[in-house]
Symmetry: C2
Subunit: 295 residues, 2 copies
Amino acid sequence: MFQKKLRTGPREDVETFELGGIKMAASTDTLVFETDVPPGMSARDAAAKGVTACVSDFAAKGVRPKYGIMSVSLPGGTTSRRIGQMASGVGQACSKYGIRMLGGDTNEGESSITVCLFGRADRIVPRSGANSGDAVFVTGPFGYAAAGLDALMRGGKKFARYVVSPEARLEFGVKCSRYASASMDSSDGLAATLHEIARQSKKRINVSKIPVKGDLVRYAESRRINPDRLVFYGGEEYEIVFAAPPRHRRAIMSGAGRLGVPVIEIGTVATGRGVYLERDGKLGALADGGWRHLG
Amino acid sequence: MFQKKLRTGPREDVETFELGGIKMAASTDTLVFETDVPPGMSARDAAAKGVTACVSDFAAKGVRPKYGIMSVSLPGGTTSRRIGQMASGVGQACSKYGIRMLGGDTNEGESSITVCLFGRADRIVPRSGANSGDAVFVTGPFGYAAAGLDALMRGGKKFARYVVSPEARLEFGVKCSRYASASMDSSDGLAATLHEIARQSKKRINVSKIPVKGDLVRYAESRRINPDRLVFYGGEEYEIVFAAPPRHRRAIMSGAGRLGVPVIEIGTVATGRGVYLERDGKLGALADGGWRHLG
């Protein structure tokens, strides 16, 4: 669902354009059931997640999506009950994020749902705006979506809700956009997201704190998986990775607190290039790398 | 690709919404290669057709699409050459219709392309506006796309261009929208389109002239297919079916002539319900029915 954004200019989470003097943003996301929907996830949840993925693109830019259209492909013989479940999932997600789904079309094909959302965007927080001296924050913590997928693929349920019914950080993204210099949705994976911000900003990012909690580390150990793989390369998480001047730290943290969104300061922006991880006093390059299925 | 439009209100070719006081229209179309792309049609042509299908929705409403985003699904291992061909097909179609394709995302899955276009729409020509006494027109003639598909499925080439590289009637649709009371894109098939206009307008449509030419009738006869099946139920044609007051007949015909678009007057709107066909002096109900694959 999140492999690559096609674009003529610098890549962004949303595309921007102007009509009638009004600046707007649009984004589209496709969820392919065969590859993106693990066993144990209902058609309703899958359809809702198609909306959530697209909302997350807007959240990272500080823009509220207002309207949507969608295109649904379903194999011949799909029951009307299943279609109704998908419509209900889309409806629930749209209602949660204040979006009016205008309509769309249906087609015969492998099950998939493509959601396209639009909103007014007088300004977006770009990927390219990080400045030396900025602090780097994430909503988080990370790793649960990849761990949940691993569990689901093995018939388990642990952390499954991070895969089945993820949430986009829309309110936080909109409220804190005034403080952020650069921002991006983390769905391609934390490492890939940090690299993309560093690359577009022409800066270096130093990560000194890994946004991970003990339960995730314990799960990884029990499964003999390197926790880094889940945290940095898991992907399919709808968190916001952003940079902001340190003077806004208190405002960001108190805004996050009011919304009940966990925000973790993970590092700093510096002159240079690349993404580096400081661990046990040692500094090493953090490999770039996109989201990959664990299954 | 054209099975059904999902919508909360009355179904339309485009969805309309307002942002910042500006009225806009959006539409989306998905082309699934497995079901929509016959043998002998290149990836480039298929991608271009995905754009054309969506442009045709706008053409029927008299609205010019200005921007687009897309979502492309491709199986793992798709060559970059094939991806380049698809991008080139999209680029050609966008350039032809004056659309700026902003970007989009790619996913792993069965080959498909979803195009979403937007434009400013101070007014759209609705499906529901036909009045008693209006004349009914089509751009056309009809039947070639279904005949071309039939030929392609049998390894032939006759009429193949109507399937492989169809054109949307954008200039005509925009220029003549001032005269039309009701209008709809014909891609669901001529019979289904006439029924939808009659139903939404709460009127009856009498068809007295079948928009067909001799070469199509001869092809149908050679294949022992009822020409009506190709003309009324073939579908996948990007023509405009519209109603207009007879006093605009001359303006419509001369506008069409200037643009080189064939326009045929096929009947009239009357009080009542349903769609009727007059042939050899006899009047019969024209069955409703959507587009179906002939293959």
